[in-house]
Amino acid sequence: MAQERTDEELLAAYQQGDVGAFELLLRRHRAPLFTFLLRMLGDREKAEDLAQETFLRLVKGAQAWEQRARFSTWLFTIARNLCVDQARRDRFRKADSLDAQGPPGSEGEPAMIDSVAGNEIDPARGAESARMRPVLQKALLSLPAEQREVFLLREQAGVPFKEIAELTGVNENTVKSRMRYALEALRKSLLAAGVSEEAAADEPAAGVRLGRA
């Protein structure tokens, strides 16, 4: 089998009119992007909307894209900016909406935590992990958005610190300290919520794909 083409090669092919190449890109990045947005927003429907919007913008901007820029960085830049807009809208709406109350002290958090629980249980996954995920998501949503995005970009999307710095427009040291705060806050709230290391330990350490046996 021929060696897999890189994202950048695929996008270049799409620039030449190869829609199949774009489809490959879409399939490759659909789940990571959707997961990023889902964890970021805590709401499946919003995450799907924004993920779709991200790809639509990608389509529009594809011709102007330059090979020098990394595809995934661009993808997450668009998605991240859409998240920022979304948070702004949510905050605005919350001002006169009683049914949307974020956790106290959090900024612009969507109040959809409960909806995360229950409707995402995938029988293919370990029962323990499924039980924990709502707790984890809740802990994640209680982080300030800047910490949450850094955590997800690095931990889930695998974007190196240096690129996160470019993507979010802050310097690398700030990114790293946000990461440290995020990890420390998560550690504390997860231990307090009774998540044990044994329960989490059956998760492999690096990039987990859904659908593994």
Partner: protein
């Protein structure tokens, strides 16, 4: 390695972002430093606890559909030479008409009065406008449009739209295709590029506000070219008419003549008399009504009968009439045109209304600002992004305190200005 250095690098170590030599140095330090070791352990523990968050989840089954449809449409716009006037269609467009082989050239495009719960700007359909569009319409239309606005209008008029796309003979199409690049080459490069630039909407800096005419020129010339192309296609294609370009522009484009002229009238009013560029357009414009009369698209262009291509006398009357119209009636007409999907005309009318408002009391600056904002929206909807950006710049310059109007205008352009990160970012 000092303790402080080690502290800084713990997070990099935890995520494997240190080169081996550096990682070994930190490890050495850790061996003798309880504090750093404790912190490193806490970082690792947090990552393990949160590991389930890394599991990937899939979006719903229909997630890809809209994206792939857009990707295909965009690829065809860019690669089949159909890079002309872009008109936003509200409604759903089924992608089955997008390949040349499956086109039903005789299929009528009907406007249904179906109500959509969530009307969306779904797809940019390129309809004529550039020379190449004459060839490329064969690819375009066999679609069902559902448009609330259009439906409303149709209901008012109590008759449905029908945009007929006549079959062109293969030979005609090939001929036209062959002719297209030649004609494009014969013109200054800016002409060939104009529509492409609008299409790609590269985030170039805003064009100088001072020179509206010179920057408008390419588009006008391009349309003029399309106009010239239409009749020659008619001659070339026996039987099959040349409505490739013409019919494609049916709904909006023949109205564009009128809107061009109005915009031009606008410019003349608002600025010193135009020099050479406008005059260069004149022969083409004069030619347009004649071409229109002999073309089927004049019949097809029922979307805005009032503004459909008319004999020169009528057009100039309309122009005079427009010049004395009140801002309100201009706004009303603009709104009608906008609802009919005739964005280019609407944009022209809005700008005219804005100019009118400006002459009235200063109290109307908000209304004028909003007229400009609407003009930006309409221009963006018509795919004329360069013009849209210029009007937006004019808006912020003339009415810096009208935040909401400016925000509306900026929003209309946000999509095309979402661009890839700067080249050097993400380079690694």
């Amino acid at each position: 390695m000092t303790h402080a250095e080690s502290q800084d690098l713990l997070i990099d170590l935890a995520f494997g972002e240190l080169d081996p030599a550096r990682a070994a140095e930190v490890a050495d330090h850790l061996a003798g430093c309880d504090e750093c070791r404790r912190e490193k352990r806490a970082l690792d523990e947090a990552r393990r606890l949160a590991a389930p968050l890394r599991e990937l989840e899939e979006p719903g089954a229909a997630f890809d559909d809209r994206i792939l449809a857009a990707a295909k449409a965009q690829a065809q716009l860019t690669h089949d030479g159909n890079i002309g006037q872009v008109i936003e269609v509200s409604g759903s467009v089924k992608p089955l008409g997008l390949t040349p082989s499956s086109i039903d050239a005789h299929g009528p495009v009907s406007v249904k009065a179906a109500e959509r719960r969530r009307p969306r700007w779904m797809l940019r359909v390129a309809l004529g406008g550039s020379v190449a569009a004459a060839a490329a319409l064969a690819l375009a239309v066999s679609t069902t449009l559902q448009s609330k606005h259009v439906a409303q209008l149709a209901a008012q008029k109590d008759d449905a739209y029908e945009i007929r796309v006549h079959a062109a003979e293969e030979a005609t199409r090939l001929e036209a295709k062959a002719a297209a690049p030649k004609m494009a080459k014969a013109e200054p490069p800016e002409v060939a590029n104009a529509s492409k630039i609008a299409q790609l909407a590269q985030p170039a800096g805003p064009p100088p506000v001072q020179a509206p005419l010179s920057t408008m020129k390419p588009m006008k010339q391009e349309r003029a070219l399309a106009k010239k192309e239409a009749p020659s296609g008619l001659l070339g294609g026996s039987g099959g008419d040349s409505s490739l370009g013409a019919a494609g522009r049916g709904a909006g484009a023949s109205n564009l003549h009128a809107s061009d002229q109005m915009l031009e009238a606008d410019e003349r009013q608002a600025s010193p008399p135009p020099a050479a560029p406008a005059r260069r357009d004149r022969p083409a414009l004069a030619h347009a009504p004649a071409a229109a009369e002999s073309q089927p698209y004049t019949q097809a262009a029922s979307a805005e009968p009032r503004a459909s291509a008319a004999p020169p006398a009528v057009v100039s009357m309309a122009r005079k009439e427009a010049a004395t119209d009140s801002a309100e009636s201009l706004e009303k007409r603009a709104e009608q045109a906008r609802h009919a999907g005739n964005f280019a005309l609407a944009a022209g009318l809005y700008r005219k209304a804005a100019a009118q408002r400006r002459e009235e009391a200063a109290a109307n600056s908000s209304a004028a600002a909003w007229d400009l904002a609407h003009a930006v929206e309409c221009l963006a909807a018509a795919g004329q992004f360069d013009d849209a950006k210029r009007v937006r710049d004019e808006l912020i310059k003339s009415y810096p305190s009208e935040d909401t109007a400016f925000y509306a205008a900026a929003r209309a352009l946000r999509e095309v200005e979402a661009a890839p990160p700067a080249a050097d970012s993400a380079k690694q």
